[in-house]
Amino acid sequence: MTGRAPEPVTAAANPPVEPLEANLGARDVVRASAMPNLPAPDRSLTEVAKLIDVSKCIGCKACQSACAEWNETHPEIGVNTGVYENPPDLSAEMFTLMRFTEYDNPDTGNFEWLIRKDGCMHCAEPGCLAACPAPGAIVKYSNGIVDFIHENCIGCGYCIIGCPFDVPRISPRDNRSYKCTLCSDRVAMGQGPACAKSCPTQAIVFGTKAAMIEHANDRIADLKSRGYANAGVYDPPGVGGTHVIYVLHHADQPSLYAGLPDDPQVAATVSAWKGANKTIGLAAMGLAAAGAVLHGLFGRANRVSAEDEVEAQALVDREREGDA
């Protein structure tokens, strides 16, 4: 080791080739799936964020390409289904995807081609983590990155159920769940994510969340000057904010962008399932079991008496004889 990797401040740097100590690891985990009482880490990293400025995005898929290369995934060579989305959906081999929406803007009469990079939003309140039953399979670091620890993943798919953005995908190859890691391995080395590094127009940028919000506000001012009165940032409070945030020209209508949820929340069904249901259910089961045990210990068993046997024999004899 020649030193500790720095905390990342931007995506635009060349990766080191010398061995450095990672600046992100187990000791930075603030939450882990199915491990409710995790001790607080002794340090807190600066929150990071990836900002996706939809208004700068040219839909070139460099992010998809860089993502596949960095993560060494092998997206399938599919077919053309009449649209530009390829691969057709997020998959365990494709952690990010450009989604294209053709929109005739009724207010301006202009046609708009809205292109959004889809992928994990790295929620502050991750639905996937809440849903995951495998201890330590999903972790959240103090810098905001939500990462899947594949060794711990059991492939149940509950993360898919928990995610308000429909992001995780189970690999048919190894039955483990995959999604964008925000390039936690790069961030650990002081680098930004591969997608942000590659993005030709820097529609994707990476830095501290505070810096990204500031950058977003600059962009929003620029967009407003170009007539996008509803330009704004997408950092949905329903999931506690996210560490992947968007600048949208039409922030009043997120769902225009290939169904980006207008107000994402961890679903009530998921909360019920992982909240009250879990407690009540277990309590009920526990009480039932405990009640049975107690009753068994202290109650009087229902025993067959000798008279019962006699009566039975009499009855049988009676019946048999009666027939005879």
């Binding site: 208004s55 700068k56 995005c57 040219i58 839909g59 070139c60 898929k61 460099a62 998809q64 390409s65 596949a68 290369e69 092998h74 997206p75 399938e76 060579i77 599919g78 077919v79 053309n80 289904t81 009449g82 649209v83 530009y84 390829n86 691969p87 494709m94 053709e102 005739d104 202009n110 046609f111 708009e112 081609w113 809205l114 292109i115 030709p200 127009t201 820097q202 529609a203 600059d218 962009r219 620029d222 000057s225 170009r226």
Partner: protein, 811 residues
Amino acid sequence: MTNAWTDIKNTDLAIVMGGNAAEAHPCGFKWVTEAKANRGAKLIVVDPRFTRTAAVADYYAPIRPGSDIAFLLGVIRWCIANDKVQWEYVRNYTNATFLVREDYGWADGLFTGYDEEARRYDMTSWEYQIGEDGFARVDPAMTDPRCVWNLLKAHVEVYTPDFVETVCGTPKDRFLKICEMIGTCAAPDRVMTSLYALGWAQHSKGAQNIRGMAMLQLILGNVGLRGGGINALRGHSNIQGLTDIGLMSNLIPGYMNLPRDSEPDFATYMASRAFRPLRPGQTSYWQNYRKFFVSFQKAMWGGAATAENDWAFDYLPKLDIPSYDILKMFDMMAKGEVNLYFCQGFNPLMSFPNRAKLTEGLSKLKLLVVMDPLQTETAHFWENHGAFNDVDPAAIQTEVLELPTTCFAEDEGALVNSGRWLQWHWPAATPPGAARGDVWIMSSIFRRVRALYEAEGGAFPDPILKLSWDYADASEPTPEELAKEMNGRALTDLADPADATQILLAAGRQLQTFGQLRDDGSTMCGCWIFSGSWTEDGNMMARRDNSDPGDAGMFLNWSFAWPMNRRILYNRASADLAGKPWDPARKLIEWDGAKWTGYDVPDIGVTAKPGEVMPFIMTNEGVGKLFSRKGMVDGPFPTHMEPFESPVENLLNPALRGNPAARVFPEDLAQMATGDEFPYVGTSYRLTEHFHTWTKHNLVNAALQPEFFVEISEQLAAEKGIRGGQQVRVWSKRGEVWAKAVVTKRIKPMICAGKTVHVVGIPLHWGFTGVARKGWGPNSLTPFVGDANIQTPEFKAFLVNIEPVEGGPLA
């Protein structure tokens, strides 16, 4: 590009027309995004399709493929009519004031001098009035009706907004809005940049499309300025370099030309090339042609090129026609006139029009040699791949050699980018299998041929036997040796012409600049414009200092740019007549009273006084040319011409078809369709996910865009009963393809001359080799005709038909 990629950040308005920068050049397009984000620049896109560039544009307008000249001349007309002209620039830095001969004229879509039989113009009348002093006559007041400005005004009069709407299908309000946006850049402190590519070049009048924009940029005073210029976004990584080094039929490195049959000796050859200035006191740089040429001949044949043999003038082949370009060669091939053909990193079967004709030509060769890192369709043209390549191998007698070469990761050397930067790169990986570099392969072939001539004699062996081969390892010259040869060196001590006792450069030393070249055989130089790239100070192309004084975007210490490390051509024009920058905030160079200083290498003699030597030193006039005199074979001004295959007639003259001066072979003309037979306009293009037919060999890019498709409007889809994702057949008079249909709002029908015009968009990335799904390219459909000046095939506008298909070859 007159400017550099990094300079685009200095613009106020970028117009992308005749290209699709965001998709074809995403990382260069970044600088448009920077200009938008940091200086509030606007972006206009004019394109038949709403492209991914349009997705981030401030304003978009559709245009019918092949009607760009009408649009551009319409903008010029609007600018003149609305006084959106940078008058001082136009008056001083263009040939607006030059008087043109009385017999020049234009009528019915044709200029004077047209010979219909020969499909050619006699350009005699396209000339200035030459005064008794031998210089062109000018009228600084621009009142003379024969001055270029007044001729231009008259020439563009027909291109009214209504005419533009009728021809181009661009709604008038959209056209006028764009005119207004462009018009703002006539102010000295506002600059527009034009970014274009093959969307303008691949027409039978491609060069005239580009001239239209160049003229507009001169009128707005935007050439030579930071954030301005006329920027061809070139395709391949070293297409600029190969053109610079002259790997074309008619070129000699550094934009010199092969002699013609009409130039039987060196003296005749030189007589028509050392252009003398057309105005007093001007510097026509081509006056140095002889120095460049002699030094080139010395680089080629060393000691065998002597004053006595006219520097081995006869070792060069002469041309009897303007060029044996690839279209001409494939035409000859199809006629059985070619026996051997070499394809070095080139896949013509998927790159040139009328694939059926290409296959026919390749099938008539005796031997085809393909050197490529990939298994190209050309090398495999004889293989049957069902409908994807329906040939009978047994019937093809061509021998084929497929030779594996290295690729970028395995080789070393320089590439010239679109902004003329020569950047050196180093190898990182061991070549796979038996793959070897092009240098070793070409050396091996050449040395064997030379050995055969040495042993057997044969046809005119001198240029082969005497070719300079001064390399440490004759079997594989190093990149360094070759680069130094191109830079050039002194062959004898070079004495100072002013003081013979002073040696400026000792024998054997690398040249510092082409200014040191001599025409007496004492210097050698493979490519004069590259002089300064590998000097005694070392490899200038490998420089990596990315500092940028003044945040000007010039990066003078990063690599080397030709000529002389200059980053913006014509940068003298960034300052007014007195030498002060038009816009102080955009200073590039300025006259400090004694010399030119600034952020860029001045494109003028450093001590050439302002007002005396004019900015455009490569022209005979010293100024930019609104009227191109004899530079273009199809007219001194652009004029509206329809594509060879067009759904509408030429409104200026219905009798005209295509570019009247374009070369077209009779068999090919017979295969041109009319709108009655083939009602829809086909246009070809690249997609951002792919690079030509290379990346379909690549797993990731094949996944990002796996399968051949065509794009049509919702309206055409409804008319034809085509669903998105369904298989369709598209056919032209020359061939047919099957593809998936992408039905989109991004293409909308246009109304041109009262007709509804539907566009069928056909991307070009698929074939029958590689890892992506098998498919076709648009070249199965396109007509075999090129631009009149530069022979770029007319890939961007042709006629097709389309129908839905069940159970076709893709099913």
